[in-house]
């Protein structure tokens, strides 16, 4: 599927592919039509993580060029995936390998940021833990001045921070935009609320889509942090009690909510801040989430694997290929999918 190469001006006019495994059928609409599939009493859960300026260009002590793509950790350190010389204009898989660094090495980023390597992953020397110097005020000011949004070679031009924030962006936890919520303009959100649906948030530190290392890519998604606020856990319990559906906006929300599911809790979740390495796929029995609103996910990617918890692979493949033929576009500025059993029956019920 061709990528959308730049943010588009009218999110509600972007295309929406609706996939219902119960009737083994699909529909094509516009994002602005989402209200047709959402019932009073449904709860839409979004990821309210803002997107970090997580790409830092820097140098090792010997002067070698390195790019660090940061992943938030809960203990104040940062994990980072390192890339060699160059930037987003080169496809990640074509980037030169990063210089090999070891524990204790210092990396400098611009004139203001210095970090010491405090760990190297046994899985790959590209994955390191960094400890930045300076107090939090200095660190965050410098990160926001020097860092740039992570982006990929299919995007037409350098992205600004505002291009990679969803309408709900609050604390900067995400390395890449949790993009499923991007097209949810407030006009649509308020219309869905007026219809009787409600919204709640989790915060999930969305990680990297691509590391430039085939073995690492095969193991994506990495361990990620998430928070389920008490008020969101309560909103899910209320939704369950009244027979409403929980609709996840994005794969990160599915990962967080399914990780937080209370055993024997009837689809409810435990509030709190945790890490997860849960991989959701066809063998995962969904306990909390009934349907997902998300981007167009290429067959074979980890996001597509997650969708197979909602619909059979064959149906997803058929739907995706049909959408591709009809000009849907993919990636973070692309079109959207709504997938869930019975999602199309709302229109006929």
């Amino acid at each position: 599927m061709s990528p959308a190469t730049w943010p588009r001006e009218s999110p509600l006019a972007e295309r929406l592919l609706v996939v219902d495994p119960r009737c083994d059928c699909t529909e094509e609409r516009r994002v602005g039509d989402l209200a047709a599939y959402v019932r009073a009493g449904d709860l839409l859960v979004v990821n309210d993580a803002a997107t970090l300026p997580a790409s830092l260009q820097g140098r090792t002590a010997s002067g070698a060029s390195v790019e660090a793509r940061l992943l938030a950790s809960r203990d104040g350190s940062w994990r980072a995936v390192l890339f060699g010389a160059g930037d987003w204009r080169t496809r990640t898989e074509d980037r030169p390998a990063p210089p090999v660094v070891g524990e204790g090495d210092v990396l400098t980023f611009g004139g203001e940021l210095r970090a010491r390597v405090s760990g190297v992953s046994p899985a790959s020397t590209r994955v390191v833990t960094l400890r930045f110097e300076g107090d939090p005020d200095h660190f965050w000011s410098a990160l926001y001045r020097h860092g740039r949004p992570i982006q990929y070679a299919y995007v037409a031009a350098p992205l600004a921070l505002w291009h990679v924030q969803t309408p709900f962006a609050s604390r900067p936890w995400s390395s890449e935009m949790p993009s499923a919520a991007r097209p949810l303009a407030w006009e649509l959100v308020l219309a869905l609320r007026a219809k009787g649906a409600s919204f709640a948030a989790i915060t999930h530190a969305a990680g990297l889509s691509s590391t430039g290392d085939a073995a690492l890519d095969a193991a994506l998604p990495m361990r990620e942090s998430y928070e389920v606020p008490a008020e969101t856990a309560a909103a899910i319990a209320r939704t369950r009690a009244r027979g409403g559906r929980v609709i996840a906006v994005g794969t990160t929300v599915v990962r967080a909510l399914e990780s937080a599911a209370l055993p024997g809790g009837g689809g409810t979740v435990a509030p709190g801040v945790r890490d997860t390495d849960l991989v959701v796929g066809s063998s995962h029995s969904l306990r909390v989430v009934d349907a997902i609103f998300t981007g167009m996910h290429e067959p074979g990617t980890s996001h597509d694997t997650l969708l197979q918890a909602f619909a059979p692979r064959e149906l997803l493949l058929r739907a995706f290929q049909g959408a591709q033929q009809r000009g849907f576009v993919g990636h973070e500025f692309g079109d959207s999918m709504l997938v869930g059993p019975g999602i199309l029956s709302v229109l006929t019920s």
Partner: protein
Amino acid sequence: MELRGAGAIVTGGSRGLGASLGSALAARGARVVLVARERGPLEETVARIRAAGGEAHALAEDIGDKTAIHRIAGAAAALVGPIDLLVHNASTLGPVPLRLLLDTDCEDLERTLAVNLVGPFRLTKAVAGPMVLRGRGTVVHVSSDAATSAYPRWGAYGVSKAALLHLNAIWAAELEGTGVRFLSVDPGEMNTKMHADAIPDADPATLADPADVAARIVAQVQS
């Protein structure tokens, strides 16, 4: 609103009313991020608040700079958590001594609008979405009687404050029922550098103390 533990951003926070608001909010338990262009005075204000036992952070940014907005919103939320209170206190008079509209450069009007109107719009846009999602939050616009009275020589400033007053009203109308409040407050004439720049021969004894005005605004926020 409950201020204990609340995340707050105050623009124009290095001196005058902004610094007093920062102190008053921190004294009531808010986690405060002060924003101003000049790093030196800003860090001095933050140091004073911390010395008094409050939590405050400094972000040296220019609210009139489009590229600063998401830097402010992102770094502030990283430092103090989700933002519950946003106080648009920063403003510029434009060139001083104040001048007639016929003598005002178009670029000076643009710059005044960028700081006093467009910057606050941009920052609210970046911060109010999560407030609506959580169903709570307060946005304060610091206004002026120049918003409603057409004082000669106060053209650029007056136009910007009139527009800011209307911006506050439209935000409030559009987000009514969401739990997010919009307040416009006129602090009156205060003994500040800005007032001295505008009216150099004013008698400071006749002007309000910014700390007293800050206490009044904070009480309004808490109500």
